[in-house]
Symmetry: C2
Subunit: 456 residues, 2 copies
């Protein structure tokens, strides 16, 4: 029976055209002498480019007690720079120039990385490369700028986290899921630690981690790879490499007791149930991450997925359910489920129904059809990703910066085909088994409207 299933899968997959053997992005890569990795994805549909630089530093690299530095730096990188060769910019001038040239720019920070990008006409590529290279080592802000930007960040935290019970719940669930581990640190930082951050601490962090040999540069769009490599040599190439230690984060202790977190809040109108599991990332286990990606699609991928059909369509105990797994993490990844239960009283049923769907997969597996359709859907999505301008830079960036190779990214469609029904059962049994309480249990969270007249 097992062999028979495999043959059927092979037939179905072979019916997908030669795509499966192609590389997804046909990216070209180059390494500067100073250690900067450069990847170019040519796409000549329109005369525009996306230029992105990814630094292998995020909130998880922050010294304990100094949370928020990585994100703070992301802000400061727009506040001025000085470089003898690459030029100086005043506070705000970077983005002003990009906009004046018809482009847009932004940046984002995660636990694992910090990235900066510009989307702009291809004729301005050299200009933005020069500016971006200039702030890699030349960021320069006065003390006053530091103090005022700290206020901006504290206000950001107030609005996005402290005034949002969902965000506070997320922070607390993350703390419970990653005890002792730097992934327990919120990216924006805790308010009291942002408040305490010193100018020199932020600068030390910048000088320690912002270096060509700790970064990946990605350019996608209407350029030739050779042209990008040439300009990169003249701009990024003049920055010296730094001594860089291997990333070494402290680990969580094992924990066997279940943790449930609950919050009643007046701004919550409908109950929310969340569950987060710790699972392997691509960096930790390539094959298991592929299996989890297929599993994510099958049990949580939209309105045809198992959980949606069971909880929303059939049992009507929830009005919505979503599941997310992102394999791109340096250390453990998380698999998270978010449910809108039909009512507060249905939360116990929701939990039981999720556990039940997991048991079904462990015990009965999935059908050949489910597997092949899921894989084909994911492969198709990979093809669509090619067509976007920013998409390829994003995918390549977060994959490379969290430890995947370019080869992994290019051959992902073939790799995903290797996932079997047995592997899906095994990975579900190993990481999501509701009947094995002595492995790292998931963290459950419940958000409820604030009941009038006291707490509970």
């Amino acid at each position: 029976m097992k062999q028979f299933i495999l043959i059927i899968i092979a037939v179905i997959l072979c019916s997908a055209p030669s795509m499966a053997m192609d590389k997804v992005f046909n990216a070209k890569s180059y390494m500067l002498d100073n250690g900067l990795q450069i990847v170019v994805v040519e796409n000549h549909r329109a005369p525009v480019i996306t230029h992105m630089i990814w630094y292998r530093v995020g909130a998880a690299d922050e010294p304990r007690g100094q949370s928020g530095i990585a994100h703070f730096l992301e802000h400061l990188m727009f506040k001025g720079q000085k470089h003898a060769v690459l030029g100086d910019l005043e506070a705000g001038e970077f983005s002003k120039i990009v906009r004046s040239l018809g482009g847009n720019d932004n940046a984002f920070t995660s636990q694992d990385f910090t990235a900066y990008f510009q989307s702009i006409s291809n004729k301005h590529l050299e200009r933005v490369m020069k500016m971006e290279a200039g702030r890699m080592r030349g960021m320069f802000i006065p003390q006053e700028g530091f103090v005022s930007e700290k206020k901006v960040i504290q206000e950001e935290r107030r609005q996005r986290t402290d005034n949002d019970p969902r965000a506070q719940m997320s922070e607390q669930m993350r703390e419970a899921l990653f005890p002792n581990h730097p992934y327990s640190i919120p990216i924006i930082g805790w308010m009291h630690e942002i408040e305490g951050l010193k100018y020199q601490e932020v600068m030390d962090f910048y000088h320690k981690y912002y270096a060509p040999n700790n970064a990946v540069l990605i350019v996608s769009g209407d350029v030739s790879a050779d042209q990008v490599f040439e300009i990169a040599k003249r701009t990024y190439g003049i920055i010296e490499r730094s001594d860089m230690l291997e990333r070494s984060w402290i680990k969580s202790p094992p924990f066997i007791a279940k943790t449930a977190i609950s919050l009643e809040h007046p701004t919550i109108k409908e109950p929310v149930f969340r569950r987060s599991y710790r699972v392997p990332s691509a960096n930790q286990s390539k094959q298991e991450s592929l299996i989890l990606e297929v599993l994510e699609d099958i049990i949580g991928g939209g309105s045809t997925s198992r959980l949606y059909k069971s909880l929303v369509v059939e049992q009507k105990i929830a009005t919505n359910i979503s599941l997310s797994y992102n394999s791109a993490a340096w250390d453990d990844a998380t698999l998270s489920i978010a449910v809108n239960p039909a009512s507060k009283e249905k939360i116990a049923d929701v939990k039981a129904a999720i556990d039940n769907e997991l048991r079904k997969i462990i015990n009965d597996g999935i059908s050949v059809k489910e597997l092949s359709e899921s894989i084909m859907r994911m492969q198709n999505n990979a093809i669509y990703a090619r067509d976007s301008l920013t998409g390829p830079a994003m995918i390549i960036g977060y994959s490379l910066i969290t430890g995947s190779s370019l080869d992994d990214i290019e051959h992902w469609p073939q790799q995903i085909e290797s996932v079997t029904i047995e592997q899906i059962q095994e990975v579900t049994r190993k990481y999501l088994n509701p009947d094995v309480p002595y492995k790292t249990p998931p963290i459950d969270g419940v958000l409820l409207p604030k009941a009038t007249g006291g707490n509970e």
Copy 2:
């Protein structure tokens, strides 16, 4: 009415004899030039002494990722020492000598401190002082001794923690109660971090914290204070002071969501309910700590306390309940409640009953009689403490080492009299209020027998 109550209390308390004005221990203190604080409590009832040294270093001072060092060091201090003037000892020789002289010795480690003591005939005081001083800076063990002791400690952790669901629950509750804070680190260390500890890391920790100006020496028993100071000068006095930084620990972020931790385990026979609150220590708020001490006695102090009477005697929803608050912490203290519910089904009633007793105190206060009896009971206990040999050294040691002054300790019976009914209401409202969900909520823990056939 308020004034009337205060007058009554004053009358009752004045009826207690002059004791209230005396010092509890009449301790004598002296400071060596190298910063070592020495306290002597003379007690000539029997020709024996307790000699204790307290170092202001514990698990909370450990570098992140190196949990267990403080406790590891406590073990290593018995494994050999070398000192040009004070002499050398082989592994195990310290305790062997103490025993051969008819005494006993031991040591203990907490989050805040590490302490070593010997109880022995007073004629051997100089001998033990010389040995103890010798290992303050002269601890010396070979690599092999380090490796073998690590195995001993790992076995200790296996037996006391990993094989005991109660201990595992305690660890996890502490992690939840002190997110980001070093009090979340278990004193014995996490197994994977003990495993990773390096010889040099442990030695660096020793050299950083073991110094006369980071220690308090206490001798109680049949000695004269002057004699102790004299011997101390000849022994401890020859050790040089070290550069010592102020203790500076990172803080927990505020958290507003409630956390409930539950564990089903086959070795648990009867359900257990626990609750832990973060409350001020004496070091943080002297007056609030005194109030909490009275509150501890009134609501949780034995079979006449409010919680016992309500839950065990009247409602019969629990077979036992205990409450503990220890004011001696450098940073936040915890107030913990442990209950044996009559059955698993009664756990919700137990929680509700505890909350209800707290509400009663907040709303109605306590009676004048309850307060005066409680204070008198506590004052009497302080007098009894005088009579013991080790008791005074313990009380003075953990108080001084966590930031109290000798004056605070000596005048505790008068200070405790200052606690008022209104203060008890206010402190209960501030820290233990079940109806204010937006302050640091307590952590609830439930231990249950493992149900057969799956989890939940």
